[in-house]
């Protein structure tokens, strides 16, 4: 058994932020865990799924975030402690239930973890999910370090039970994906029995009364926050600058103040409980200084709240200077880092903290040389074949068609690896909804064909309603389900089509074809590796009307690799390869762009990178000369 699941506490482990949250939940006596995968949150449920085979808990990957919260709420209603985890966009999906749940209240301690992704490093957006705490009147905790993540998670269950409402915990990428030494506590061993008390139903009526109760609960939370130890102040009694910081930003501030040698001149209020504001603490701290800087990631959340509170304080607060995102002292977008604060201290305190000569010299030297690495589908990736076939069909069709895209590995279709065919990407399942709209524009002269693509996991998550909408409203929509039997983007979590659950138990897979046929929508299946045949099918479908579905079926290359690999040993016949000359123009490396194909500069011919090529054989069919040869089994 992994050390992270051991019963005894009081040892130091190297834990990732997400693992610390999982351990915190276990120490907090959680019984029911659910979530939907999405960077940077996935490892929490992965860890808890792993834990489920050692400890008496239940863990699931739910179909989407809303269902995840609903399922976890059931456990809470029945008196069990539950945790539900997602990324920032996921909370949007869950929010409809959340704003109602907080009216009905909860029973067993319930914690919702949102992992925000400042800079959108692995997201379609940059979003601050903390606004939902305000929207749903939910207490909000913001840990700064893995240790704190563990402790706050554990504590959050108690808080939830004290106020009978769900508690939000917000992490960010640079906490979720940070490993550090964490001292773990002991795991409780309590017998539990789930039971719904039918005398105490959970619903939102009467709405106004429940709304008032919700506000009362929030007040209680505020009082608890004020006496908690999560909001320490550190620094001189009369600092020249007061920084109010939360989450990872606090780490950057702390370090920057130290580097700048300003520990004696700057005071730092670390806010760990950010909604509702622990007003008493804020009020006392505000007295110390008239210059206040806010340090937080993504939106000016505490900044706005504290400024509003200072306005309420009126005279007492006096003339304060507030610095932060609103004033432009802190960038209003993008992830923060220590550098931002050092730069600011240089200005505010007239110091010289950053090695500018070095940076300038390096900058000059590197100018124009460094370029970003282009992302691409893996060697042997079926998506490359699917997009190649779609590209071909749309070009043949010649009506300026395009793809309405969705979320998954195949989002990369906006880039050369997907031949730049994808022209819109937003939220999970949106590709279908948007396509159902395009499909009704013919009466306004719209004559461009649209293909919408959706992965199998995404299709179950939120794609199905878009498709049914198209069916219902007789929209001309062509859906290509890119069925690779995996949630590859986030690390191969199982989904309804894969035949196993989060904990590895067998379950009957949902039959996608049968599901679509039950809607009486024409369904056909094609193999992405057979690009020409697939293109023919897509072209033929483009000429038809009404809802149409083509399932592009082929396992994710990484899964195929694990399950015994690919059939071919590849090579390029240099006597036949045309290279750059008219007739080819490096078609394979320039257009098809599988990383398994490289350019041999000496011979001016294409070559197979035997380390990278997996032997799928797709490229043999796209070479105009038949120079790429596939032979029998790889050794």
């Amino acid at each position: 058994m992994k050390k992270i699941f051991q019963k005894n506490g009081n040892i130091n482990l190297l834990l990732q932020g997400n693992e610390a949250i999982a351990r915190g939940a276990l120490e907090g006596d959680v019984s029911f865990c659910s979530g939907y995968p999405g960077n940077p949150s996935s490892e929490i449920i992965e860890t808890l799924a792993d834990a489920a085979s050692h400890l008496p808990i239940y863990t699931e990957w739910s179909i989407n975030e809303k269902v995840a919260v609903e399922a976890a709420a059931a456990a809470s209603f029945a008196g069990l402690r539950s945790i539900v985890c997602m990324k920032q966009c996921g909370l949007n999906v869950a929010s409809d239930f959340l704003v109602n749940l907080t009216l009905s209240g909860t029973k067993g301690g319930m914690v919702l973890v949102t992992c925000d992704d400042p800079s959108g490093i692995s997201s379609t957006n940059e979003e601050d999910a903390r606004v939902f705490a305000d929207l749903a009147d939910t207490p909000l905790l913001e840990p700064s370090t893995p240790q704190e993540a563990l402790e706050m998670t554990k504590w959050a269950f108690d808080l939830s039970e004290k106020i009978n409402n769900i508690v939000l915990l917000r992490s960010v990428s640079h906490l979720s994906h940070t490993r550090s030494v964490v001292r773990i506590g002991e795991l409780p061993e309590n017998e539990k029995k789930a039971r719904f008390d039918t005398r105490n139903p959970f619903h939102t009526f009467p709405v106004i009364a429940k709304h008032n109760i919700r506000h009362e609960k929030l007040k209680t939370a505020e009082t608890i926050f004020e006496s908690s130890s999560w909001n320490p102040y550190q620094g001189p009694e009369e600092p020249e600058l007061l920084i109010m910081a939360c989450g990872s930003a606090w780490c950057y501030v702390l370090e920057a103040v130290e580097i700048a040698g300003l520990t004696g001149r700057i005071g730092i209020l670390k806010l760990g409980t950010t909604w509702p504001l622990p007003k008493k603490i804020v009020r006392e701290t505000l007295r110390k200084c008239d210059r206040i800087l806010f340090a937080e990631e993504v939106d000016p959340f505490i900044e706005t709240a504290i400024k509003a509170y200072a306005a309420d304080l009126g005279e007492e607060a006096g003339g304060k200077t507030f610095m932060g995102k609103a004033s432009g002292h802190i960038p209003s977008t993008g992830e923060l880092n220590p550098s931002i604060f050092l730069n600011l201290f240089e200005i505010l305190f007239g110091l010289d903290l950053i090695n500018k000569t070095y940076r300038e010299k390096v900058g000059e030297h590197l100018d124009g040389v460094i370029f970003p690495r282009e992302f691409g589908f893996c060697p042997g990736c079926p998506h490359r074949g699917s997009y190649y076939a779609i590209k071909q069909a749309l070009a043949w069709d010649n009506r300026d068609g395009f793809i309405s895209g969705d979320i998954g590995c195949y989002t990369m279709g906006i880039w050369p690896t997907g031949f730049n065919q994808v022209k819109s990407v937003h939220a999970m399942g949106s590709g279908l909804g948007i396509a159902s709209g395009y499909g009704k524009l013919a009466q306004f002269g719209f004559d461009q064909p649209v293909v919408t693509v959706c992965g199998d996991s995404t299709f179950y998550h939120a794609g199905l309603p878009g498709l049914i909408n198209a069916k219902f409203n007789k929209s001309d929509i062509l859906l290509l389900v890119l069925d690779n039997s995996a949630t590859a983007m986030t690390g191969f979590q199982p989904h309804p089509g894969t035949g196993s659950t989060a904990t590895g138990e067998d379950t009957e897979p949902v039959d996608l074809e049968a599901l679509l046929r039950s809607l009486n929508i024409g369904v056909d299946v094609a193999d992405p590796y057979e690009t020409e045949a697939s293109a023919q099918k897509i072209y033929a479908l483009l000429q038809k009307k009404g809802p149409r579905v083509l399932i592009m079926k082929r396992k994710c290359a990484l899964v195929q690799g694990k399950q015994g690999g690919f059939p071919y040993q590849m090579s390029v016949n240099h006597d036949v390869c045309l290279g750059e000359s008219c007739g080819c123009g490096r078609y394979c490396t320039r257009i098809f762009r599988c990383p398994g194909l490289i350019w041999d500069k000496e011979n001016m011919k294409a070559t197979i990178d035997q380390v990278v090529c997996v032997g799928c054989g797709m490229c043999a069919d796209i070479c105009p000369r038949g120079a790429i040869e596939k032979t029998g089994k790889r050794n």
């Binding site: 590209k391 071909q392 070009a395 043949w396 010649n398 031949f419 072209y539 750059e580 000359s581 008219c582 007739g583 080819c584 123009g585 078609y587 320039r590 257009i591 796209i622 105009p624």
Partner: protein
């Protein structure tokens, strides 16, 4: 030429596709993966970076007329252009004539050329049945007659030539429209420049006033309730003003003005009606069903026709003076119209 307009696919896109001038000859197709012919249309598949490409060099629409050798000659020629002989002709084999468009000359001459070894393969346009017509390479003389009859939409047939050359076929005969003959001429000039041997040894050109856009035609015919598979199309002599389609389901007539809406835009700047660059040019014999007008333009053409006559494959008659002057007039008219349209287009560009 500056870098912005290289003589490669970029130029082709700029000067031909963006202006809607492609006439679907197929000269640029299947030389490489970048240009495709599918379902009756030539399309750009991917972006090629070459600045010197055969697609541009061979395309009959890639540069405004008058800009290269072929164009200069063409502009200089009056009416039906230079020729050795013009006669009325028809195939002796009655069966072959029946399925043919006019006198079955194309079929008869090609069959003979293959028999004598003058050509190994022939590039023809198939009927497409329920799909668009397209170019095919035929290697056996028995198969040639299966391709008789005219498709009035353009078919990208020269793509089959490119594929055949890719496979190493030598001595090839091509039947095609004037634009395709022009493409072959440009191709020939390119071969001379590169000091390579041209595989095309026989060029049979058809007369052509215009060709239709297949997709538009197909959609129209479907909408107008045409049934069966198309065998051939015909435009009966004026004043009928109809377009006649023979299908497995019967004969259908459509008003010619409707059909004219579907003429390829690129045909409007075409200045050649009688395939100036062919060895032999073939057209209908106005007013005499089952006969062809035959223009012999080269020595190659003359030899083949003489052989065909001596072998009793075809019969020829003198071509009446009146028909000759009508034809010359019609050809000159097309040239004037094309030159005007092309001038207008250039002016439009300069103006904008």
């Amino acid at each position: 030429m500056d870098k912005k307009n290289p003589e490669g696919q970029t130029g082709l896109v700029e000067h031909v596709f963006k202006k809607g001038l492609c006439v679907t000859c197929g000269a640029c197709v299947d030389l490489c993966p970048y240009m495709h012919y599918h379902d009756g249309r030539v399309t750009v598949m991917d972006k090629c970076q070459a600045e010197d490409g055969r697609c541009f060099k061979w395309c009959p629409r890639a540069v405004p007329p008058g800009m290269n050798t072929a164009d200069a000659e063409q502009m200089a020629a009056k009416g039906i252009g230079p020729f050795r002989k013009i006669v009325a002709a028809r195939a002796c084999d009655e069966k072959k004539r029946e399925s043919s468009q006019n006198g079955g000359m194309a079929t008869a001459l090609l069959t003979l050329a293959m028999e004598t070894g003058m050509i190994q393969g022939a590039i023809l346009t198939d009927r497409g049945d329920d799909d668009a017509p397209s170019g095919k390479m035929v290697l056996s003389k028995e198969m040639i007659s299966a391709f008789s009859g005219s498709r009035y939409s353009a078919s990208g047939a020269l793509s089959a030539l490119n594929r055949a050359v890719g496979k190493g076929v030598e001595k090839i005969g091509v039947v095609g429209l004037p634009c395709q003959m022009e493409a072959l001429e440009r191709r020939h000039q390119y071969y001379i420049k590169k000091q390579m041997t041209d595989q095309v040894t026989l060029k049979i050109g058809l007369f052509c006033t215009w060709a239709l856009d297949y997709r538009k035609l197909a959609a129209y015919l479907e909408q107008e309730g045409l049934t069966g598979t198309v065998i051939k199309c015909d435009i009966p002599p004026p004043p009928a003003e109809i377009f006649r389609v023979y299908t497995t389901g019967g004969t259908f007539d459509f008003p010619l003005p409707d059909i004219r809406q579907m003429i390829q835009k690129g045909c409007s700047v075409c200045t050649d009606m009688t395939s100036l660059y062919a060895d032999i040019s073939l057209g209908a014999y106005e007013g005499r069903e089952g006969w062809n007008t035959l223009i012999i333009r080269t020595e190659t053409g003359e030899k083949l026709v003489d052989l065909a006559v001596s072998k009793g494959r075809i019969e020829i008659e003198a071509f009446p003076e009146k028909n000759m002057s009508d034809l010359d007039h019609a050809a000159q008219n097309k040239k004037n119209r094309g030159a005007d349209a092309s001038l207008k287009m250039t002016e439009g560009e300069v103006g904008s």
